[in-house]
């Protein structure tokens, strides 16, 4: 039976072209880019070209890119880096209730160190209220961290307007764009983003490499001290094959792929809502990540849906209580106003450039009896 992988927001396979491009950097071009000799110079040049490519992708002119180990590290570096570096200005940070754990747990860590955190509410589609943001910014606010595309429910925030507000108020704006990078346009010449988190493995690049793009004027405290790599902001020998792969991966998703993913996304949303009465769409219909579909099914638990589909070789994800490392109900689902008792039936379907309408049809065909079976089994109505 063919496997239909629908968990691309978790991670993607490495694209063949990306893989081929990386290979020589494991063996032939293995040198340390810091080394003075010819071999080192060659690697150094290629790393710098990769850096330029990625900066160009987002039209970054007054920025630098720091290579990291991925989105989590970039978010940590952005938030702790600003918090420690600008603590004389203040210790107030604004974020939202629907951030990725690598943001939420980082600000919680800072909270214990005496920083004050405000968590913005979101509406039932997951959008923040710009008025509320404006009201929450204080004299001692040093950072606003708001994710671009939500990994669970797909909501795309208006980063242009958020950036504008932050600029007017003289506060740094950080956005976690791991899910949106290369799937929706980010243009740093038009959008005021001071710190931008990106990574490779959500765009058919390798795992273990990401980046933080920051405006040149920003002074960050590093997380890792050592040999002074990456503008003294991230010491440690560079992950050269990863960086080369990252640079190649930004070419993988084409405009046509985005159109196709959007079509498949909307097909799944429309047809599941039509065929399954207990299905509710999470997140908005418009202003949504092109590859994210997220449902909440009444009366049932998401993990059971996931496992039944898995038995049919279809891989999806869930935001439900029992699914991962904690037993708490999903914080994003709670933030958009779903009562905890109704919040367990979340199923996330994220599509890739390979996904076609036939896959979507198969998914829906298999999903209908699963939901029916589990609903019949449920004592909750």
């Amino acid at each position: 039976m063919k496997t239909i992988y629908l968990d691309y927001a978790a991670t993607c396979p490495v694209d063949k072209k990306v893989y081929e491009k990386m290979k020589p950097y494991f063996t032939e071009h293995f040198a340390n880019e810091s080394s003075m000799h010819t071999l080192g110079n060659k690697v150094k040049e290629d790393v710098e070209e990769a850096r330029e490519n990625i900066l160009k992708k987002v039209n970054a002119k007054e920025h630098k890119l720091i290579f990291t180990s991925g989105g989590t590290e970039s978010n940590n570096l952005a938030i702790k880096g600003i918090a420690y570096s600008y603590k004389e200005k203040g210790k107030h940070i604004i974020t939202t209730k629907i951030e990725h754990d690598s943001v939420l747990n980082t600000v919680k860590f800072l909270e214990k160190e005496g920083y004050e955190i405000d968590y913005l509410n979101v509406d039932k589609e997951g959008f923040i209220n710009l008025e509320e943001l404006l009201k929450k910014i204080r004299k001692d606010t040093v950072l606003v961290s708001i994710m671009h595309g939500n990994n669970e429910i797909g909501t795309l925030q208006d980063i242009k307007k958020i950036g504008k507000i932050c600029k007017e108020k003289g506060v740094f704006f950080h956005t976690d764009a791991c899910q949106s990078f290369c799937k929706t346009e980010i243009d740093l010449s038009k959008e005021n983003i001071d710190l931008l988190t990106i990574n490779a493995h959500k765009i058919y690049g390798p795992k273990g490499v990401g980046g933080l793009i920051i405006k040149n004027k920003i002074k960050l405290n590093p997380l890792l001290h050592g040999g002074g790599h990456e503008y003294n902001l991230r010491s440690g020998t560079l992950n050269v094959p990863g960086i080369i792969g990252f640079s190649e991966s930004i070419k993988v998703i084409s405009k046509k792929d985005i159109e196709n993913m959007t079509r498949v996304r909307d097909y799944i949303i429309t047809n599941v809502l039509k065929e399954i009465k207990t299905a509710n769409l999470l997140g908005p219909k418009e202003k949504r990540l092109c590859n994210n579909v997220s449902f909440l099914f009444d009366f049932i638990e998401g993990e059971s849906v996931l496992l039944h589909l898995d038995l049919k070789n279809i891989q999806v994800s869930t935001g439900s209580a029992c699914s991962s490392h904690t037993l708490e109900t999903n914080h994003v689902v709670r933030a958009i106003g779903v009562l905890p008792k109704n919040s367990n039936g979340m199923v996330r379907i994220t599509i890739g450039k390979e996904t076609n309408l036939k896959d979507a049809e198969t998914l829906i065909k298999e999903l209908i009896p699963v939901i029916k079976k589990l609903t019949e089994m449920s004592p909750v109505r």
Binding site: L307, C322, K341, S378, P379
Partner: protein, 129 residues
């Protein structure tokens, strides 16, 4: 491909749960769980001469919750009330070849739910007597 986060036995019961549904005029009904936690279980029993003649369950929950529900119905069918009351949640989990640690608390409530159904039967019986 086999999912390795659960035992074979859990997946077997999850795939084809035994005794799922409800009974006509049950002698005892037990319901337990916490919707916020994601697991709710309901057990209905038919008792003749202190023996569990029939048992059905309905469960909202993960694979662990469904498998433990199915397993308990298999274990206690034909057993006396006294025997059934001795069975613990832990016994059920062991019969299933174990559960992931995080599931032991929330999703492993089948024996407790059965005991509730038996209590319900006994209290009704006492009222009649």
């Amino acid at each position: 491909m086999e999912n390795t986060k659960y035992s074979k036995e859990v997946l077997k019961h999850f795939k084809n749960p035994k005794n799922m549904g409800s009974l006509k005029n049950p002698d005892g009904v037990g319901k337990l769980g916490n919707p916020a936690c994601g697991d709710v279980m309901k057990v209905e029993i038919k008792i003749t001469k202190d023996i569990i003649k029939d048992i059905k369950f309905q469960t909202m929950g993960c694979a662990a919750a469904i498998a433990t529900s199915s397993m308990i119905t298999e274990i206690v069918k034909g057993k006396t009330i006294k025997e059934a009351l001795k069975i613990t949640n832990k016994d059920v989990a062991e019969k299933l070849g174990g559960l992931p640690p995080i599931k032991m608390h929330c999703s492993n409530l089948a024996a407790d739910t059965l005991h509730k159904a038996i209590e319900d039967y006994l209290s009704k019986k006492n009222k009649k007597d």
